[in-house]
Symmetry: C2
C-alpha cells in the first residue's frame, strides 16, 4: 500500500520541482506584465477582447461545472474499493480544475500580452522585444502545464501509494474531459467568428481582415484566445497528464514501485528541459523565427534524452530480477531495464523530431505540397479543395505510419513482451513530452502575435516597420500551430495504446475478483479481444464511425454558427450605413454574444457523443467489442486528425503564397480560389481536427473506468442482461438524442428561411 | 474429396440455370440491338464514343494481362497441394477473364444502346420505349453477372469437390483484382474528362454541357461507358463472386458439404429473382422512374426471401447433428439450421432495403440533407463544400451503423458461435445479392441515358419532348448509382467479415501442418489476434492508412489528368477559333487519347498499393497484425466509401436543385457555388469512393492467400526471418516506389510550369 522510503523521498523532491516550475511561471508572468501597454486606443481594443474572452470562459465553466459534478457522482457509483473510488472522484475534479485553470491562465495572459507585443513592435529593437514577450507568455503556460501535471501526479502517488493508478485514472479523465469541451467550444467560437468575419468582410464588402468596421473583428480576436490559447493549453495539459497516468499505471505492472516512480523522474527531466528551453530560445538578429524554434526544440530534445538516460542508469537496476516486483511477471525477462527504458524515451523524442519535420514539409510555405496546392488556385476553387484534400490524406498516412513505426520499434525493444511493450510505449510518450514545454511556449506565439497584429491594425497606432514585424511573428505562429497538433495526436496514440494494457488488466482483475470464467456462447464473444470475431470487428467499425460523426458535427456546428454571424454583421452594415464610412462604431459585443451562445449550445452534442458512445458499446456488446471500438477510434482518429490539421494548414499557407504575389497575387481569381480553400480549412484545422486528440483519450478513459462494471454485469450466474441492455439503451439514447437535437436545430434554421429573409439581394 | 450424388445433381442443375441466365442475356441483347439507331448524325457521334471506349478497354486489358500473368505465376508459388495450386491459378485467370468480359460487354452494349435510347425518345411513346431499351441493356449485364458468377462457382465445385474453397479463392481474387483496376482506371478516365470538360466549357467559355464545340465531350461520353458501365459491371460481378466464394468456404466449415451447396441454391434463387425483376420492372404511364425501381426492388426482395427460405426448408435438415459434418464442430449446436439460414438471408435482404432507403434520404433531391446543402450555396462555395462534407460524414456513420447492426443481428441468430456467425454473415451477403440483378439493371440506366442525352444534344436531332424524356431518365440514373454504391460497399463488409473466418482457418491449418506452436516473444506477438497487442493495433492504423492513401491517390490522379484535359481543350480553342463559331470540328480524338494515356498511367499506383500493402504488413509484422490491418481497412474503408459516395451525390443533386430554379437558379452566384461543390464531388463519388469496395476485397484475398506462407516462414525452428523481412521490404519498396513515382510525375508537371506557359492570361 505504502511506498518505500526512497520512493517517498524522490517523489517529494519531484513535487518540489513541480512547485519550482510554477514559481518560474509566476516570475515569467510578472516579466510579461511589466512591458508597456501601448496607446489608449490599443488598450481600449485589448480590453474589449479581454472582457469577451473572460466572459466566454466563465460561462463555459459554469455550464461544464454541472456536467463535471454529474460525472463525478457517476464515477463514485462504479464498483471498487471505497477509498479509491472517493479519491478517484475527487482527483477527477482536481484534473478538470487544473485543465480549466491552465486554459483560463493561457487566455488571461494572452489577452494582456497581445497589446504589449503590439506596443513593443513599434519601438526600437521591436523585433526582439516583441518575440520575447510573445515567447515568455508561452513560457508561463508551458511551465504551468509541466508544474501542475507533475504536482498532481506526485500528490496522488504520495497520498495513495501503490493504489495511485486507480486514482490517477480519475485525474487524467478530468483533465481530458474538460480539455475536450474546451477544444470543441473554443474551436467553434474561433472559427465561427473567423469564417463569419471573412465571408462578409473580405468576400462581400471587400474590406481587409481585422478592419475595425467589421462587427465580427473583436469576436475573431476573442476566438483566437479562447480557442487557440485556452483550448490548446488545456489540450496539452491533458496530453501531459494522461500520458503520465498511463505510464504510472503500466509502470507499476511492469517494474513495480520503481515503474511508478521512473516516469515521474523522466517527466521531471522534462520540466528542467522546459525551463532550459524557455531561457535559451530567442530570435537572434534577423534569423527566421522558425530557425529559433527548431534550435530550441532540438537542443531541448537532445538534453532531454541525455538527462532521462542518466536518470535511468542512476535509478534503475541492471536486471529485471533486481527490480521491485510488478504484476506482469517480467522478473525472468532477458535484458537491461536501464537500456530498454532509455531506448523507449529516445524513440519518443525522435518521434517528436520526425513529426516536426514531416508537418513542416507538408504545411510549410516553401515545400512542394503547399506550392502544389497554391498552383492549383489557377484552375479554380474546386481544384484547390481537391488538391488540399489529397495533401491532407497523404500527410495523414505518413504521420500515422511514423507513429506506427515508433510503436513497432518499442515492441522490438521489449522483445515481444506485451506488458513490457505497453509500459515502454507510455515511456516513449513521456519522452515525446519532455519537449512539451518548448512546444507550448512556441505554440502560444501564434494567437498572441495574431492578436497583436489585429490590435495594431484596428488601432492604427503602429509603424510600418512594426506592422511588418508583427506579420513575420504571425507567420511563425502558423507553422508551430500545425506542429503542436501533430505532437498532440502522437501523444494521443501512444497514451491510448498504452491504456489498452490497463484496460485488459482491469478486465482480468475483475474476472478474478468475481471468480468467474468467461463461459461460452454470447458471453464469451462479449469478452473476446480476437479481432477476427465479427462483433469485435463491429466494434472497430463503430469506433471509426464515432470519429467521423464527431468531426462532422464539429464542422457542421461551425458552418451553422458562422451563418448566424454573417446575418448579424450584414444587419449592422444595412441598418447603420455609418459603419462603412467609419462614423459609427459597430456593436462588437453583439457578435461576441452570438458566438458565446452558439458555441456553448453546439459543444454539447459532440461532447455527449464522446462520453456516451463507449458506454453504449461496452454495455451493449461487451468488453471485447469495446476494445475493438477503441482500436477503430485510435486508427481512424489519428488519420482524421492529421488529415484535417494538415489539409487546413496547406490551404492556409497556399493562400499566403498567393498573397505574397504568386499566381496573380491579392485580388486575382487565384486569390479568390485560395480564400475559399482557406475557409474550408478553418473548421478542419482549428475545430474538428484538434478536438480528436482529447476525444480519443476521453473515450479510452471512459472505457477503462466502466470496464469492471461491464464485466461484473455480464458474467457469472448473476449476469443481469436486462440491466446491461437498459444501460446501453440509455447511453445510446443520450448520444443519439444529442445528435437528433442538433439536427432539429439545423432544420429549424433552414426552415425559417433566414437566408432568403435576411439577404434578399442574394436570392435573385 | 468427391461430393455426394445428390450434391452433384443439384450443382449440375444450378450450372444449367446459370447457362439459362446467359441465354436470357443473349435474348435481351438481341432485343436491344433490334431498336432503331436514329439519324446519321447520331450514329456518327455514337460511333466515335464506341471507338474511344473500345480502344480504351482494349489497351487497359493489354496492360492488365501482363500483370495478371505475373500474379498467376506468383499464386502458383505459394505453398499448398499441387493440384489445388494449379486450379487456383487457372481459376484466377477465369475470374479475371469473367470480370473483364462483363466489363467489356457492359461497355459494348451501352455504347450501342445510348443512340437507340436517344432515337426512341423522339418517337411517339418515347418515354416507355426509351426506358425499356435502357432497362433491357441493364438486364443483359445483370443476367450476365448472375450467370457467369454462378457458372464459375458451380464449375469449381463440380470439378474440385470438397477442395473447391481453395480454388475458389483464386476465382474471387481474379474477379476482384480486375474489377479494382477497372474501377480505378475507368474512374480516372470518366472524371478527368468530365471535370476537364466542365472547367473549360461551362466555367471558362460559358457553353452548355455536352456542347459539340467542346473537344472533351466525346471523351466525357466515353468515360461514362468505361467508368460507370464497364467499371460498375465488373465491380458488381466481383461483389457477387467474392461473396459466393466466402459463403462456400465458410459453409463447408459450418454445414459440411451441404454448407457448400446451400449458398449456391440461394444464389440460384437470386438468378430467378433477377429474371423476374427484369421482366416485371417497367415505368407505368407518367410515374417517376424511381417508383418503378423501388417497386421492382421490393418485389424482388420479397420473392427472394420467400424462395430462399423455401429452399432452406426443402434442402437442409432440422438439426445441426443431421447436417453433413463440417470442420467447425457445430454438431452439438442448439437450433434449427433451416431457421438460422433463412434468418440470415432475411437480414441480408432487409439490409439491402434499408441501405436503399438511407442512401435515397441522404442524396435524393427532395430530402432534407440535400436541400440543406443546396441552401448553403447562398453563402458561397466554401459553405457548400463544408455542408457536403458534413452530410457525407453523417451518412457514412449511419450506413456503417446499419451494416454493423446487421452483423450483430446475425451474431445473435448464431447464438454467439463464431464459426456459425461467420457463415451466416456470408449467407446474409448472398441474401443481399439476390437483388443484384435488379440493381445492375437499374444502375445501367444512368450512363446509358446520360449518354443518350449527350448524343441528342450534340446531334441536335431530338424533339423538345424527347429532350425532356432523356433528362428525366438521367435524373433517375443519378439516384440508382448512389444506391448501387451503398449495396456494393455493404457486400464488401459482409464478404470481408466472413473471409476473416477463412483467414483464421488457413492460419490454424498451416500451424497444424507444420506441427509447431506459436512459441513466445516476438513470434507469439506476430501470431496474436488480440486487439490489445500494440502491433495488432499498429495493423489497424496501417489498414486505415492504406484506405486514406488509396483515396488520396485516386483523387490526385483525377486532378492531374483533368489538368491535362484543360490545357488540351484550351489549346484547341486558341489555335482554331473556328471551333467556337461552329465552323471547325474539334479534334475529339486527341482528348480521348490523353484520357486513355493518363488513366492507364495513373491506375498503377493505387493498384500496386492495394496488392502489396498486405504483403508488406503480413511478412513484416505477422498474421496477427495483418488481421488488424484488414479490420482497420474494413472499418475505415466502409466509412470512407460511403462518405465519398454520398457527399458527391448530395453535391450533384444540390446543383440540380439550384438548376431547377431555386436560390437564384442557373447563372446565379449560388449556381456557381453549386457547380464548384459538384466538381469537388466528381472524383469523390465516381473514382475514389467506388474503388474502395474492390480494394477491401483485394486486400482480404491477398491476405488469405499469403497467410499460410507467412505462417510457414515465421514459426518453428526453420523460421527464416531474413527471408521474411526481405519479402516485406520488397513489397514495401514496390508499394512505396509506386507512390513516389506518382509524386515525381506530379512534381514534374508542376515544375514545367505548364499552367503559366499555357494559360498566361490567368497569371496576371
Amino acid at each position: 500500500m505504502q511506498l518505500g522510503a526512497t520512493s517517498i523521498t524522490i517523489v517529494s523532491v519531484i513535487a518540489l520541482v513541480a512547485v519550482a516550475a510554477l514559481v518560474m511561471a509566476a516570475v515569467l508572468r510578472r516579466q510579461v506584465l511589466a512591458a508597456g501597454e501601448g496607446t489608449a486606443s490599443m488598450q481600449q481594443i485589448a480590453q474589449a477582447v479581454q472582457e469577451g474572452a473572460s466572459a466566454y470562459l466563465r460561462r463555459q465553466y459554469r455550464t461544464l461545472a454541472v456536467f463535471a459534478a454529474v460525472v463525478c457522482a457517476l464515477l463514485f457509483l462504479l464498483p471498487g474499493d471505497g477509498g479509491v473510488r472517493l479519491g478517484r472522484s475527487l482527483f477527477f475534479l482536481v484534473g478538470a480544475g487544473f485543465s480549466a485553470a491552465i486554459g483560463f491562465l493561457g487566455m488571461w495572459l494572452a489577452t494582456r500580452a497581445n497589446v504589449r507585443v503590439a506596443a513593443a513592435a513599434s519601438l526600437p529593437g521591436g523585433r526582439a522585444e516583441g518575440a520575447r514577450i510573445a515567447f515568455r507568455t508561452g513560457g508561463v503556460v508551458g511551465m504551468s502545464v509541466v508544474g501542475l501535471g507533475l504536482l498532481g501526479a506526485a500528490a496522488v502517488v504520495l497520498l495513495y501509494g501503490t493504489q495511485a493508478p486507480a486514482v490517477l485514472e480519475g485525474f487524467g479523465f478530468g483533465a481530458a474531459l474538460l480539455a475536450m469541451f474546451m477544444r470543441v467550444g473554443g474551436g467553434i467560437f474561433t472559427k465561427a467568428a473567423d469564417v463569419g468575419a471573412d465571408l462578409v468582410g473580405k468576400v462581400e464588402q471587400g474590406i481587409p481582415e481585422d478592419d475595425p468596421r467589421n462587427a465580427a473583428t473583436i469576436a475573431d480576436n476573442v476566438g483566437d484566445n479562447v480557442g487557440d490559447c485556452a483550448g490548446m493549453a488545456a489540450d496539452l495539459f491533458e496530453s501531459y497528464a494522461v500520458t503520465l497516468v498511463a505510464a504510472l499505471i503500466l509502470g507499476r505492472a511492469a517494474f513495480g514501485e520503481q515503474g511508478m516512480v521512473f516516469p515521474l523522474i523522466v517527466t521531471t527531466m522534462g520540466a528542467l528541459v522546459a525551463a532550459l528551453g524557455v531561457v535559451i530560445t530567442r530570435v537572434r538578429g534577423a534569423e527566421s523565427g522558425l530557425t529559433a524554434i527548431n534550435r530550441g526544440f532540438y537542443v531541448s530534445a537532445l538534453v532531454g534524452v541525455l538527462l532521462a538516460s542518466a536518470a535511468a542508469y542512476a535509478y534503475l537496476p541492471g536486471t529485471f530480477a533486481a527490480l521491485t516486483p510488478g504484476t506482469a511477471g517480467l522478473e525472468t525477462h532477458d535484458g537491461d531495464p536501464r537500456l530498454v527504458a532509455s531506448a523507449a524515451v529516445l524513440i519518443g523524442v525522435v518521434l517528436a523530431g520526425v513529426i516536426l519535420w514531416v508537418t513542416g514539409y507538408f504545411t510549410g510555405t516553401t515545400s512542394k505540397p503547399t506550392l502544389h496546392v497554391a498552383r492549383t488556385t489557377l484552375t479554380g476553387p474546386a481544384t484547390v479543395v481537391l488538391s488540399g484534400i489529397g495533401v491532407g490524406f497523404e500527410s495523414a498516412v505518413y504521420t500515422a505510419g511514423i507513429i506506427a513505426a515508433a510503436i513497432c520499434g518499442v515492441f522490438l525493444v521489449a522483445g515481444g513482451s506485451v506488458p513490457l511493450a505497453l509500459f515502454l510505449v507510455a515511456l516513449a510518450g513521456c519522452g515525446l513530452l519532455t519537449t512539451v514545454g518548448v512546444i507550448v511556449a512556441m505554440d502560444t506565439f501564434g494567437p498572441v502575435s495574431d492578436n497583436a497584429q489585429g490590435i495594431a491594425e484596428m488601432s492604427g497606432d503602429v509603424t510600418p516597420e512594426g506592422a511588418q514585424i508583427l506579420t513575420d511573428l504571425d507567420a511563425v505562429g502558423n507553422t508551430t500551430k500545425a506542429v503542436t497538433k501533430g505532437i498532440a495526436i502522437a501523444t494521443a496514440v501512444l497514451a491510448a495504446t498504452a491504456l489498452f494494457g490497463s484496460y485488459a488488466d482491469a478486465v482480468a482483475h475483475t474476472l478474478r475478483d468475481v471468480g468467474e470464467g468467461v463461459g461460452d456462447g454470447l458471453t464469451a464473444a462479449m469478452m473476446s479481444y480476437d479481432i477476427i470475431s465479427p462483433v469485435t470487428l463491429v466494434g472497430v467499425i463503430l469506433g471509426g464511425a464515432t470519429v467521423f460523426l464527431f468531426s462532422g458535427l464539429a464542422i457542421d456546428a461551425v458552418t451553422r454558427a458562422a451563418g448566424a454571424i454573417v446575418f448579424e454583421v450584414r444587419r449592422q452594415f444595412r441598418e447603420h450605413p455609418g459603419i462603412m464610412t467609419g462614423e459609427v462604431r459597430p456593436e462588437y459585443g453583439r457578435v461576441v454574444d452570438i458566438c458565446t451562445r452558439d458555441s456553448l449550445r453546439e459543444l454539447a452534442t459532440p461532447g455527449l457523443l464522446a462520453a456516451f458512445a463507449p458506454i453504449a458499446v461496452g454495455f451493449g456488446l461487451g468488453v471485447g467489442p469495446l476494445a475493438g471500438f477503441l482500436a477503430g477510434a485510435i486508427g481512424t482518429g489519428v488519420l482524421m486528425a492529421v488529415f484535417l490539421a494538415n489539409a487546413g494548414g496547406a490551404w492556409d499557407n497556399a493562400k499566403k503564397i498567393v498573397e505574397d504575389g504568386h499566381h496573380g497575387g491579392k485580388g486575382s481569381p487565384a486569390h479568390a480560389a485560395a480564400v475559399i480553400g482557406d475557409t474550408v480549412g478553418d473548421p478542419f484545422k482549428d475545430t474538428a481536427g484538434p478536438a480528436i486528440n482529447p476525444l480519443i483519450k476521453v473515450m479510452n478513459l471512459v472505457s477503462l473506468l466502466i470496464a469492471p462494471a461491464v464485466v461484473v454485469i455480464s458474467v457469472g450466474d448473476d449476469a443481469n442482461h436486462t440491466a446491461r441492455l437498459a444501460i446501453a439503451l440509455v447511453a445510446t439514447a443520450i448520444a443519439f438524442g444529442a445528435v437528433v437535437a442538433s439536427r432539429l436545430r439545423a432544420a429549424r434554421v433552414d426552415r425559417e428561411g433566414r437566408l432568403e429573409h435576411e439577404a434578399p439581394e442574394l436570392v435573385r
